[in-house]
Symmetry: C2
Subunit: 636 residues, 2 copies
């Protein structure tokens, strides 16, 4: 059986699945089908996600997943019967690729993200290769729309900068996007654009298996540059809608699929493959496994002869590192405190990788003796990504997906908005990344309205699965790292630029919210970060009239994990909240009148003037609290 | 007095202001000072923001604002004494440029945004030129870091696509970013990159006034392409930190500034300019005003001879349009309803401009007979921007800043995350843009987890000044447009993909929340969008046991503007809430147990299965409500 016929059978299977689901994207199945077929049957060494030496593949144009699923089914990644449940509720094969499916290296869907994920994976490979000779390629499929996204463009510059020669971008250039011809939305000379970003550029017919094969073979030989293969393809190829954007989200009916089958001269069972095609695919699969086994053997031989490296490798991939931080009783900002903690941890936790979006001088998120990662130093633990916050987030996701590394990013809290789509993906995939943000309050910067965070903390807290931490001092910074190491979930940590004292405390810091110096009090004040200090001042101002317990809340999400008894204990007194943010999540604990929140954007000015302006002084807050207590008839 | 000396005086003034403020960015003052001087004294025709024919200027690298302020002060845009209050609380000259300052055309700070704003202004100019011969240039200053941002890259492709020949990008290429040499974070060949995006590229010494002048003169002559002038400059020029990233955020002390003054051979009063420099600048300013007056005369002559066009122009710039929509009682999705409303409104509101990020086929946000904007049709009302959501948001801001146009954008609600930094800027600047988002609920798409909105609605609601609307039918869509036209504020509107009925109602729809068919009830249920339908079903299920009033909440923000009497009337009964979102803002009105919200990401599946899965059926909700009422001992 000719290979083109096998590829065509897989395309038909994909179209049938879309028809069966009543939803999906048929146009791209026919546009990228031959490329994916060639990649998976001749080059991509993979068979299960458990194999850490597998080549990685990211379908950044995730809507083309029906074709990918058909190929994975054909190559025994999972049972072909699963195709019948494509997009169905409870089925394994979701509307866009998800990592719970064997063979899927990254959740994709929002365009551009996948390209950046793949760049992250390729960076991870260079790190793991330098240390352990872990050796694989990273392939990424993309399309015209995907490459219009800023996050993809940011990441591609990084691939060129770091000369990721084992990163191969398969560009399904069908010159069509959902709304029409590509000329409607782009006049870019893409080959030139890639060359400007330090890429090898190969142009190739995307519907000729041998030519595709040759192009990929050539790309794999690159020594010092990433490669893009611009595959010229036809969307909806061989159908009445060939070349038209109308084929993009089209669900072909059975009659149309039958016509295509006739045109392809294919006779295969519905929602299945012919015995001949299966035989070809089985053979291909075995060959791929053999090639992958060879790579594994080579790696294991290397490990056997290097016991120290082997042990270290095991520590990396199983994250068998621990740390022990001594208490420091110093006045400093929590960004500085975090810098201290990070560098202490870095002494024993060897697999830390720190990404920065050009603000490490200010965020202080840097491993001082970790070296700068570069194309000549793959051992460097600090990776500069330029002013590319969005790509930083998505590249962090790629590094985390690759495995074996503890990834940290940093920028200012306001700019978390730039990273939000990537941060959301980290939560969806539950990737244990520590996203550090500094300049956490409206009093933290003289740079004016655009640099002042107000709603960002709550916007991050709203993301399902996300843990947000806002430490008040170095101890709570350390605690955040403990959560990160034990829970293995994504955490956003927000840090101050202002100097803050370190607080003495006794217990329950690990519970996300806890009373500092508890005693029998009349009211409680919850606060986080720099506002814990203000809450303490309020406590002192009020002390002759009202007894106050200050509850430090480094993390609402961790607090929410505690049992009801513990939670109720903290919530039983009349409760006030002080936080320099919109405070939406605290509405669960206290009525709006008792929450000191920010309702407007900040403004330019010095800390003292702004605190006065916004009424965030101990005097102003104490006065208001006392007034409310009187109104509530708690004190008269 | 030599012009270079005048420019140097202005640089010294900027450095003194930074020193006086104790904060600011000195490096870029010395790097872009000569370019800004030349632009403002020889080319940029502007003097007050009131002049609609002025050239526009956006300082996308907003941190360089001290230099811009110094020049604006020197050219009498405002009193030079204001420099003493630079970055001070209550001062006019904020830490980054803000549009409240005369001479500032856009708030900037978050990098990349300004480039996209300027592209939006340049698009606006082509539209206003085609219709009214409003004729001006748009200049934008950018730097190495600014051009690393995806939003800038997205927007530049648009500038090339639409052949914005009056868009001139002044690229202060000092090859340094905050964290170090540019080579640390970029290996891009920027000239080639710009050429790939259809730009003219001019390279120029950025410290030679005559050469800068020539380059700008040449750029202004471009007929069919935007132009970038790559100015080669030195950060921190002429100081001990010349060429070093350490000059970036440096505050030079008086001694260092004195050394520079000596080097420049300048003798000027502290925080002021010499009489000679003032004389030169005054003369320059008068010349600029003369040139601008000439432009205004030409325009006014044209208007005088075209009475119909003049009237229409007045209607555009004063937004003197109205609309009148008939009620339709049809079952349709609110995305379809909005399409109907938009096209009805488009019949009389001639200045509507609709931007789309390649999903207009799905969002239905399109003016059907409005034509497609292109470089050969500047009258087209639909502007395709490709899959570039972030640039779409920032370009919308630019169009709105230009004035005279009513701007609408559209994409899916999940992808609002991609646009968030730009949406935030629209709220900061209070730009009346209508951001439309479809696929508004977790039941609205079979595309799986990455395409399903959960937290987005609340994330938008958290932005200060933002109004969020989630209509339940066509009537509430119309109401949203009324809010837009009367309040002149940014609005995010979220629309369903599922079909929904149209509801009969009597009054108070304009109040953001109101009772549908009010009668004497035991409890109230608040709901928005597609969940109003579920709330009505719950009302029917419960009717023999509990009397329910359904409160439709198209906009919490509008509801919050109402007086206490009205609000209390709606909130007095035991209140339940049903919304397919995280529902954070409703915590203000009801305890968490009484809010039916989504706490997790969605999943792939059909509407009916997912509603069952998440307990969003009338049966499941009614049961729960009844159980809670029993627990509350309201019914026993």
């Amino acid at each position: 059986m000719k290979e083109q016929d096998v590829a065509n059978e897989l395309k038909i299977l994909a179209l049938e699945s879309i028809n069966h689901a009543g939803s999906g994207h048929s146009g791209s199945v026919l546009s990228c089908g031959d490329i994916l077929y060639t990649l998976y049957t001749r080059h991509l060494l993979s068979s299960t996600l458990k194999n850490r030496l597998r080549d990685r593949f990211v379908l950044s144009n995730g809507h083309a997943c029906a074709m990918l699923y058909a190929i994975l089914a054909g190559l025994n990644y999972f049972d072909i019967k699963e195709m019948k449940n494509f997009i169905k509720y409870g089925g394994m094969l979701t509307g866009h690729p998800e990592i719970d499916i064997n063979g899927i290296d990254a959740d994709t869907g929002p365009l551009g993200q996948g390209v950046a994920n793949a760049v992250g994976m390729a960076i991870a490979e260079t790190i793991m290769y330098a240390r352990f000779k872990v050796d694989n390629y990273t392939y990424c499929m993309t399309g015209d729309g995907c490459l219009e996204e800023g996050v993809a463009l940011e990441a591609l510059s990084i691939a060129g900068l770091y000369r990721l020669n084992k990163f191969i971008l398969l560009y399904d250039k069908n010159d069509v996007t959902l709304d029409g011809k590509l000329t409607l939305s782009s006049a870019d000379d893409m080959a030139m654009k890639f060359r400007s970003m330090n890429f090898n550029v190969i142009e190739c017919d995307g519907h000729d298996i041998e030519k595709i094969d040759n192009a990929i073979t050539q790309a794999k030989k690159s020594v010092d540059k990433p490669t893009v293969i611009i595959f010229h393809t036809i969307i909806g190829k061989d159908t009445a809608l060939a070349g038209s954007n109308l084929s993009h989200g089209k669900v072909f009916d059975i009659k149309e699929i039958d016509e295509l089958k006739k045109r392809y001269n294919i006779n295969k069972p519905y929602m299945d493959l012919s015995i001949e095609a299966k035989a070809v695919l089985n053979q291909k699969h075995l060959k791929i496994i053999k090639m992958l086994d060879k790579r594994v053997d080579k790696f294991e031989n290397y490990m056997q002869n290097n016991d120290k490296i082997k042990k270290n490798y095991q520590k990396f991939i199983n994250n068998k590192f621990s740390f022990n931080i001594k208490h420091r009783d110093e006045i400093m900002s929590t960004r500085e405190a975090n810098g201290v903690v990070l560098n202490e941890i870095g002494k024993t936790v060897e697999n830390l990788i720190v990404l920065s979006a050009d603000l490490s001088s200010s965020t202080k998120v840097k491993i001082n003796d970790g070296g700068q990662y570069s194309c000549t130093n793959r051992f460097g633990k600090n990776i500069a990504l330029g002013v590319r916050e969005h790509a930083m987030g998505a590249i962090a996701n790629g590094l985390a997906l690759y495995g074996g590394l503890n990834v940290i990013t940093s920028t200012f809290l306001t700019f978390s908005n730039y990273m939000l789509p990537a941060i959301r993906m980290s939560a969806i995939m539950n990737l244990p990344i520590l996203f550090v943000f500094t300049h956490s309050s409206i009093f933290d910067t003289p740079d004016g309205i655009t640099h002042i965070p107000v709603e960002q903390l709550d916007q991050l807290r709203l993301i399902p699965h996300m843990i947000v931490s806002r430490p008040c001092d170095i101890e709570e910074c350390v605690e955040t790292y403990k959560w990160w190491f034990t829970l293995r979930r994504p955490i956003c940590m927000s840090l101050s630029r202002c100097n803050l004292p370190s607080f003495p405390r006794y217990e329950n810091m690990d519970k996300g919210a806890y009373v500092l110096n508890p005693y029998k009090a009349d009211i409680n004040i919850m606060a986080s970060g720099s506002e814990v200090c203000i809450a303490n001042e309020v406590k002192n101002v009020l002390k002759d009239k009202v007894k106050v317990n200050v509850i430090s809340v480094p993390s609402i999400e961790i607090f929410e994990m505690q049992d009801r008894v513990y939670k109720n204990k903290l919530l039983k007194n009349p409760l006030f909240v002080i936080e320099s943010s919109t405070c939406a999540k605290y509405l669960k604990y206290a009525p709006e009148e008792q929450i000191f929140s920010v309702k407007d954007f900040g403004r330019t000015g010095d800390e003292a003037s702004l605190k006065k302006h916004y009424g965030y002084t101990a005097e102003a807050i104490s006065k208001k609290i006392f007034k409310i207590l009187k109104k509530l008839k708690i004190f008269e």
